[in-house]
Amino acid sequence: MDADGIHGQLDTLILATLQRGEAHGYAIIAALKESSGEQLDLPSGTVYPALRRLERAGFVAGKWTQASGRRRRVYAITEAGSAALAKGRADWLALREVMTAVLGT
């Protein structure tokens, strides 16, 4: 699936990834690819601004860390982020039902 196909869903996908535990940007990109079975063809660079957008909204909390000589900004999902993820899931399921009904598959 290309970037247009997941337009508007990236934030929910990132939140779902962070619900499994805190992670830095590149680890989130890798997890998104792996959990989608390499089906997600997303420009990785857009994940970083998305993380800042989520942080601004209060859905994730980010902090710089230093590990093995490498500096990384690590993110954790917040309570508000978990609520947003639950809403994102519900919205997606509702949309899927509508699409299935209309497309008749």
Binding site: H24, G25, Y26, I29, P43, S44, G45, T46, Y48, P49, A50, R52, R53, R56, R70, R71, R72, R73
Partner: protein
């Protein structure tokens, strides 16, 4: 800074610290992607080219980062308006003198109050996230308020009463100095907000 990050950074405008922080994070991620590809056996040049393709076109990433910078600048300018405008209003109400200034001056003062209220309302909505990221709007109302306030102040200086009822000379000087300082602060922040917001559109 590697070439890819330099290309992303080139068009970015906005708060310096946030800009540097976001680019540092992007650069770290990019280097991690390069290192992973090199671990897989690619030469560095090839790894850098592949990582750049994986990260996406620099203008696309820059546009997304610019939106964040615009939101941050809008927030900053909104707080400037929320602090400076009430401070200016209270200062003039307390120390601006007593007595009836006449109809013309009263109308001009009310016009300034109207512009102040409009700018304050927009700033409050930006901070409350009802107009989040509207950097151009936030800057524009700030500049409009300054223009109206300066215009009205100039007219009041021409048509206003002299002598009795006005503030004492020292208080008048202090008021003018504080007003100029606050106006420069507001105008600077508002101008940056318009500039950063326009870069995001």
């Amino acid at each position: 800074m590697n070439e890819y990050v330099e290309q992303v950074a080139a068009p970015l405008r906005g708060p310096r610290r946030l800009r540097a922080d976001m680019l540092a994070e992007l650069g770290d991620g990019f280097e991690e992607a390069v290192a992973e590809l090199m671990d897989a056996g690619f030469a560095r040049d090839r790894a850098v080219a592949d990582a750049a393709a994986e990260f996406g076109p620099p203008p696309l990433v820059a546009a997304e980062l610019q939106r964040e910078l615009a939101a941050a600048q809008a927030h900053r300018t909104a707080w400037t308006l929320l602090i400076a405008l009430p401070a200016l209003t209270i200062m003039w109400d307390l120390f601006g003198g007593e007595g009836d200034p006449g109809l013309a001056v009263t109308l001009l003062a009310r016009l300034t109050d109207l512009a102040t209220a409009a700018a304050f309302t927009v700033a409050a909505l930006v901070v409350a996230r009802r107009l989040e990221g509207r950097a151009v709007l936030c800057g524009a109302v700030g500049l409009a308020q300054i223009a109206v306030a300066l215009g009205c102040a100039a007219l009041i200086a021409v048509v206003g009463p002299r002598g009795e009822g006005g503030p004492a000379p020292l208080a008048w000087l202090a008021l003018q100095a504080a007003s100029i300082a606050a106006s420069v602060w507001i105008a600077g922040s508002a101008f940056r907000s318009v500039r950063v917001g326009r870069a995001a559109t």
